[in-house]
């Protein structure tokens, strides 16, 4: 019960995420919600290593891309369902994260951040030249039922729910939501656990962490591997949703920066940060595109960039900082009222 009380906000949000797609019958809105969930998912992943363990990554697109490519290749070439593909992708992402970062944590601060950027850029180059995975042309995904026989096609059908076919838009949305919920719960549980405490101690002071028996390298490596796994799952959902991937859509710095953006905008080191940041980012994005008549003029991004500058200049802790402030002032008023 205590836990329920602490995560009251999460329950309210969950209700909204179920209610709004059912109430609003618009593909545009459904698409935005799917985007929100996918980027919030990877944002949660990024938050583990950067928000909790304090190691800035500018290269999470690497693991996002590995997930997208692995599940897509397994589906297209071997006709294996993305459910298995995403686990395989997660596993490969963990192996890569482990191998790359095994000796990387001796780099501190920005030096580490630039190293993560390099890893993603290297993968981007490799995948854009690797002909087996389509090289520069990328891979366009075939509808799942054409590849896996027996996969049901009708929306709301019995197993259509689980086919991960984006043409059944609502089932796809709710599947994404369910997976996001699992990710959220895992991250929230980690934060409250010994591991979460150790990550934060490392973030706050490396020296103190060591003095109380924490091996910083191992805990950072753990954060990185978990983070890579979740990012890869996000990548799988992205591929299934977008129905097309190539190296420059999944691996570039601009994609890594979206994960940074939604999390820091919402609140770094806060489990609600990525989801709130993502909601704001993509609903504003939709709004702005509608208002300015499409993305070609760049006006939507100008307004958007200016908003980001404005938020950071007024509330450094992100939207969650504003939420906290409102909550405190409400609590203060209540006390005065009593």
């Amino acid at each position: 019960m205590v836990v329920l009380k602490e995560y009251k906000m999460a329950l309210v949000m969950l209700a909204l995420f179920i209610g709004i797609p059912l109430a609003v019958n618009s593909t545009d809105v459904h698409n935005v919600i799917i985007y929100i969930l996918i980027y919030a998912m990877v944002g949660e992943a990024w938050n583990l290593i950067t928000g909790f363990a304090g190691q800035t990554s500018f290269g999470h697109a690497a693991y996002f891309g590995i997930g997208a490519y692995t599940s897509t290749v397994m589906l297209e070439y071997f006709h294996i369902t993305p459910w298995i593909g995403m686990l395989a992708g997660g596993l490969i992402a963990v192996i890569v994260a482990f191998a790359v970062n095994f000796n990387m944590f001796k780099l501190k601060g920005h030096y580490f951040a630039i190293a993560t950027l390099c890893v993603a850029e290297i993968l981007k180059t490799i995948f854009s030249k690797w002909s087996w995975v389509g090289a520069g042309d990328g891979i366009a995904l075939t509808p799942i039922n054409a590849l896996i026989s027996g996969a049901p096609t009708s929306a709301w059908g019995k197993i259509a729910w689980l086919s991960l076919d984006v043409r059944n838009r609502l089932p796809f949305l709710f599947t994404t939501l369910a997976v996001f919920c699992v990710v959220f719960i895992v991250c929230a549980a980690l934060e409250r656990s010994k591991i979460g405490f150790y990550w934060k101690a490392i973030r706050e002071s490396h020296e103190v962490a060591e003095s109380i028996g924490i091996n910083p390298r191992n805990y950072k490596l753990l954060a990185m591997c978990l983070s890579a796994f979740i990012a890869a799952i996000g990548g799988t959902f992205f591929a299934q949703f977008f129905k097309y991937i190539d190296a420059v859509t999944v691996f570039p710095l601009s994609v890594s920066m979206i994960f940074v953006l939604v999390t820091v905008l919402g609140g770094l080191g806060n489990v609600y940060g990525p989801i709130i940041g993502s909601v704001i980012y993509y609903s504003l994005d939709l709004l702005m595109r509608r208002m300015t008549g499409g993305a070609s003029s760049g006006l939507n991004l100008i307004i958007f960039g200016a908003l980001i500058v404005l938020v950071t200049c007024t509330e450094p802790r992100g939207i969650m900082g504003i939420v906290d402030r409102i909550r405190q002032s409400l609590a203060g008023r209540k006390k005065v009222g009593e």
Binding site: R192, S193, K194, F197, Y198, K200, A201, R203, E204, S205, E207, V208, A209, E210, S211, I212, G213, I214, N215, P216, G269
Partner: protein, 244 residues
């Protein structure tokens, strides 16, 4: 009394600079040993060598008979030596309780258990009322208390305090002195680096004096205040006059 920590001929060089030269001493169980010396005598360097922050250039450190020279700091902590820092390092974004819980997690995976352990230590260090305050917004004395509490939560056998009284006022110093004595009575050993003589003399069982990296004296507090070389090197005329 059994020997707990044994330092044998520790030398530490940074390039040409010799920070510690051939220092040896021991700390026994249930004992408060103080490490004193003027600024730049190499006290903190020695602390860092013992607690694993960097390996000594030569010499050995034994803990309960086991050679721990050059082991990483986190392993040394797990063996039973926990240190604090000269410049207080509170985990700023975490509350007092969370600070202490982080230490307590060394011996448990369970959050509840860590919370119980922390509660007990908060009580002992007089921090219970402040447990929900963020580390970053504490006063100096409370930050130092938190640092000691966090170290205690790892249940060390040897607690190493690096100038934990610097910057405190008379009453606060007295608080810390009492805490040290209480910890000793509870069975801990303490190795204390300190500047403030008045505070350290009455609570120390033994004192080791460093000057320019070398050990120049070791003995009971009374012997140290009367030691000519120590007076000359460190205490100066003022203390000499007072003690007479």
């Amino acid at each position: 009394m059994a020997e707990l920590l044994k330092i044998e001929n520790i030398t530490k060089k940074f390039g040409n600079l010799v920070a510690n030269e051939d220092v040896s001493f021991t700390v026994n169980e249930h004992e408060i040993v103080s490490l004193i010396g003027p600024n730049g005598a190499g006290k903190t360097t020695l602390f860092n060598s013992i607690s694993g922050y960097y390996p000594p250039t030569s010499g050995k450190v034994y803990f309960k008979g086991q050679d721990i020279t050059g082991k990483p700091a986190y392993e040394i902590c797990r063996l039973g030596i926990t240190r604090t820092f000269q410049v207080v390092q509170t985990l700023k974004e975490m509350t007092v309780e969370e600070n202490v819980m982080t230490g307590a997690f060394l011996h448990t995976r369970s959050r509840k258990q860590a919370q119980r352990d922390a509660a007990e230590i908060l009580e002992r260090t007089g921090l219970t009322e402040k447990k929900n305050i963020r580390g970053g917004s504490l006063t100096i004395i409370d930050k130092k208390r938190v640092e000691i509490a966090r170290a205690l939560a790892t249940r060390p056998q040897l607690l190493m305090l690096d100038e934990c009284m610097a910057g405190l006022n008379q009453t606060e110093i007295k608080d810390v002195m009492e805490l040290c004595v209480r910890l000793k009575e509870e069975g801990l050993s303490l190795l204390v680096v300190e500047h403030i003589m008045e505070a350290i003399m009455p609570i120390s069982d033994r004192i080791v004096v460093l000057n320019a990296g070398k050990k120049i004296a070791e003995g009971l507090p009374q012997e140290i205040v009367n030691n000519e070389e120590v007076i000359k090197a460190y205490l100066g005329d003022r203390y000499n006059a007072e003690s007479k």
